[in-house]
């Protein structure tokens, strides 16, 4: 679809805002609606829009296969790592209260990291799935 001028220009305008909105949803999820799941999906939709307009091979330059595959694992590892860190610091698996001096600070830190892990995995999974579908033929 890269010959359609309006689509090309508008998507170039939109994609940065999509990414900023995804980051806002990611970090503001503690206070308003949002969180890792939604942020991951919105972040990946920026890549999907780019892939729809400019094609898969250009998108693969921005998000190479090794990067999305590594991110897929890094998110899950970050989540489990926070759980293990809780165990190392004397609590149970996935208990965040021991992560900092005060229990609520520990909870804040734990939830922030865990949501980041969820966001990374979801974004990488959606990008991987879409690019696998789109790159299969054509």
């Amino acid at each position: 679809m890269s010959h359609l001028v309006i689509l090309r220009i508008v998507s170039k305008f939109l994609i940065p805002f999509i990414f900023i909105f995804a980051l806002y949803v990611q970090w503001h999820g503690d206070f308003g609606p949002g969180g890792g799941f939604q942020a991951g999906v919105i972040f990946s939709s920026g890549f999907i829009l780019y892939a729809l307009i400019f094609g898969v091979s250009l998108t693969r330059q921005a998000a190479p296969a090794w990067l999305t595959r590594a991110a897929l694992a890094i998110g899950v590892l970050l989540y489990s790592g926070v759980g293990v860190a809780g165990m190392v610091m004397g609590g149970n698996f996935l208990s965040y209260s021991v992560l900092a001096d005060e229990p609520t600070h520990g909870q804040h830190l734990g939830i922030l990291l865990v949501e980041l892990g969820v966001g990374i995995t979801v974004a990488a999974a959606m990008i991987t799935i879409f690019l696998t579908f789109a790159g299969k033929d054509r």
Binding site: G83, L94, P103, T104, A124, F133
Partner: protein, 184 residues
């Protein structure tokens, strides 16, 4: 009232999806269906869920279904009359049993319903002190039910790996075909 109207729209779109044979139209109707669902969630106070449904149901899954149609076919064969008759009977019987099952369910919006008396009040009362976040959904999701969410994240991870395993390798095939075509 507005919920009933929106859900009525959803039912109409659902029936249209069952009847239309052009799969492209079905997929687009599916997107509208999800968007209406997101509106209903927001009215029912589930803002986080509405947010997710709008992004996922109306966005990503529609795009994925369209991608599948591009790789396969977008026209459905006519179903035999006998098969749809049998299915209609099965569906009506199941539906009647389910409606009978709802008769002694708690009424809509009832604050004394059993679902509102187990752990939910505790989350609402204590999470402000224990976790210190305003969004109760986030604190339950990431802290109280962290195991659950860890499992769900692993499911998403596994699904992506599965898609890669099923489709990722066959990308080499078209290349071979192209080489054959060039040789021929």
């Amino acid at each position: 009232m507005i919920i009933l109207a929106l859900m009525g729209f959803m039912a109409v779109i659902g029936i249209a999806m069952a009847r239309i044979r052009d799969l492209f139209a079905v997929v687009i109707l599916g997107g509208i269906f999800s968007l209406l669902g997101a509106a209903v969630y927001v009215i029912l106070d589930a803002v986080d869920v509405g947010f997710t449904e709008a992004a996922v149901g109306a966005g990503i899954s529609t795009v994925l279904l369209l991608g599948t149609l591009a790789l396969t076919t977008s026209e459905e064969k006519v179903t035999p009359e006998s098969r749809s008759l049998v299915s209609i009977v099965a569906v009506i019987v199941t539906g009647a049993v389910l409606v009978y099952g709802t008769l002694d369910m708690p009424r809509y919006g009832d604050p004394t319903a059993p679902i509102n008396h187990h752990v939910a009040p505790r989350y609402l009362e204590k999470s402000g002190d224990e976790v210190g976040l305003p969004n109760v959904v986030t604190s339950v999701l990431a802290s109280y039910r962290g195991y659950d969410t860890l499992g769900e994240t692993f499911v998403i991870f596994t699904a992506a790996v599965g898609v890669l395993a099923i489709l990722g390798r066959s990308r080499r095939q078209p290349k071979r075909k192209r080489m054959k075509a060039r040789k021929g």
